[in-house]
């Protein structure tokens, strides 16, 4: 039974693969008179059929839409808005994301360099957590536990 339990526990952890979860990523950019929006939960998991609201800084709604099966949505840049546009994504209960498109991007000319820069930004957003961050988190937890243990030990010592 002991060996079987050990085997089962290990099997369960072997058959599951690490990936991102929870983090709602929404990314938008202007290109050739259109605004393109991509949304995901990271690691090629598109945020499908999620509602989108695009508003100006003062809260005026300029567009509403729904992402497709690949988490994408595009629409024509609305008539000149003298404001940044904020993209709000509702990705299900308790999950939401936002992205701001600066007004300079809306009125400026799109160049291949600008698009390339945007795509690089998008890829960095979609990256999963690095092992350095994971290990740092664990080290911090054990560090805090060490401090806690030291405090508990001091408390348990009788006063001299």
């Amino acid at each position: 039974m002991k060996i079987f339990s050990f085997f089962m526990v290990n099997c369960l952890f072997i058959f599951i693969s690490p990936a991102m979860a929870h983090k709602v990523i929404v990314f938008a950019w202007a290109e050739a008179g259109m605004i393109h929006i991509e949304s995901s939960f990271g690691s090629n998991r598109p945020a499908k059929n999620c509602t989108l609201e695009i508003k100006t800084l003062d809260g005026t709604m300029v567009h509403q839409g729904i992402t497709d099966n690949q988490g994408l949505h595009s629409f024509k840049i609305p008539d000149f808005q003298d404001s940044d546009l904020i993209v709000y994504l509702n990705a299900g209960p308790g999950h939401s994301g936002r992205w701001t498109i600066p007004k300079t991007e809306l009125v400026g000319e799109t160049t291949p360099e600008k698009i390339e820069k945007k795509m690089a930004e998008k890829q960095s957003l979609e990256k999963g957590p690095s092992s350095v961050r994971i290990i740092s988190g664990i080290v911090i937890i054990f560090g805090l536990a060490l401090v806690g243990a030291w405090i508990k030990k001091k408390q348990s010592k009788p006063d001299a």
Partner: protein
Amino acid sequence: MHISEGVLSGPVLAAGLSITIAGTAVGLKKIEYDQMVHVAILSSAFFVASLIHINIGPVSVHLILNGIVGLLLGPAAFPAILTALVLQSLFFQYGGLTALGVNAVIMAVPAVLSYYLFSPLLGRSSRLTFAAGFMAGVFSVGFSSFLLGIALWFTNEEFLKTCIAIISAHVPVMLIEGIITGFCVSFLLKVYPEIIPNKNLWKNR
């Protein structure tokens, strides 16, 4: 299950923060010196569990592990889960920093409750131990989903519809966590019974 930034209303965030402060204070007081390493190990497990992602057909779910954390730590699960949530929020951008209090309540309250409900069954027999672990896993995720529904209900969402949507989305996680918790607890009770907070259980062995 981590609520994002800007989803909840101010009063809900404040209520969550108050409950978290109280729960953490009680949890910190109840942690014993010998238990500190267990708290660190289980907090670390919780911290990385949300990175573990399981594909079941078209559904993609992730582990939470609050059931096993609660069952093995009791009230100390509150500070353990809060610490992990703070680090998840800072390092992985999971859940909003302002929603930390509510997120901690959603995950830690079911964990602590599962300790009081199911830990008395541990060690009675191997079947009962597995059943206690399984039920703790299922209950913790299920009750967390329910609390998430309540938090959203107080912020203008329709209660029944939201609750049904959240709980049904988490049914696979409940079952998987039930099985994992059942096997882990059964295994730990055999090889390292000291980790189970019910001291009478292992002192008499």
